[in-house]
Symmetry: C3
Subunit: 146 residues, 3 copies
Amino acid sequence: MKRLFAFLAALVVGGLFAAPAFAQAPSPGAASGKERVVIQISTPEQRIWAQSLNYAENLRALYGKDNVEIEIVALGFGIGVLKLDSPMATRVAETIKNGVGVHACQVTMGRQKLEKADMLPDIGYVQAGLGQIIKRQKEGWSYISG
Amino acid sequence: MKRLFAFLAALVVGGLFAAPAFAQAPSPGAASGKERVVIQISTPEQRIWAQSLNYAENLRALYGKDNVEIEIVALGFGIGVLKLDSPMATRVAETIKNGVGVHACQVTMGRQKLEKADMLPDIGYVQAGLGQIIKRQKEGWSYISG
Amino acid sequence: MKRLFAFLAALVVGGLFAAPAFAQAPSPGAASGKERVVIQISTPEQRIWAQSLNYAENLRALYGKDNVEIEIVALGFGIGVLKLDSPMATRVAETIKNGVGVHACQVTMGRQKLEKADMLPDIGYVQAGLGQIIKRQKEGWSYISG
């Protein structure tokens, strides 16, 4: 009987003190130690587009390319960075080749009457850029406004 | 006696395995499945004001209007979107009618010597825009920089 | 025996209902009741630099200077706010004197061939601005895009 009590007590106390640990590492990514970062591009400024692409490069250098998962989400005025005539076409291609997710917001594309044929090859698409950013935040990804 | 043990054990084990669920959904909103998003407007650029109002519309379409709670907080250079002479007056009124919270920062109003009479009707007010955004982040709302 | 049961039950039930509280306050800062806020400056616009310095001042007024920990991280196009020729030199000095952390990103400094001798005195340095912002977010700090 005493053992059963001790076992129960250990479970209880373990539960109490384990809770903050769970709370500090809610996402699978955080638990596995891999950094996860979502970067929003929503400005019309081309120099900010370039800066956001730099961000991805910097993060890969900082954490090591195998230790970080990065998504760039272009929406609103930022969609231009992913259009066929983008001044950053070469850098976007390099970024994608480096394993960074680069996604266009299809809500924005609809508003601007853009088809996939109007966009850079090899990019990804998300139903809604904001939805993707919100989903990532809820999964525990860090959020950077580009 | 055995039943009592079983009951206690169930409580304990339930508590242990429930903890991560709580951790992943700390806010009442998240727990109820409703998305909650706070959008910051702090730029002087009118096209960014328009874009942030689009964001609210997009989020309502994405999640369904009854499944998302949205707050727009205007502060600093963004306060102009809520002034009586705002070029977005009609869109702000529509946004509010759609159930989106649209709040002016009273710290900014004080700095710019603005009274409520200088502002669009029907908007809300918060003591401090930053304080509101920080409060919402801590309550588990997603944060979008407009 | 009954008392022991009551004690165990109290622990269990306490554990169950305490869990969400832990989840809502995952960082040591939050647990101690102190607000913690990291502000990103990454724009070339000087008026936005001024606004971000205002933010720090506003937060100290809002929470009380002893109840908030603030870090400003300047990176990318924002690094200029911390250069020796910064138009905000006096305000930066005041901000630092008020106990706000003001940090330059050394990745940016490397890209722009800036040495510490090119920067304002008394500022702090971080290996990578993005890394610092991500670290703070993961520690439970609120994030404000300046």
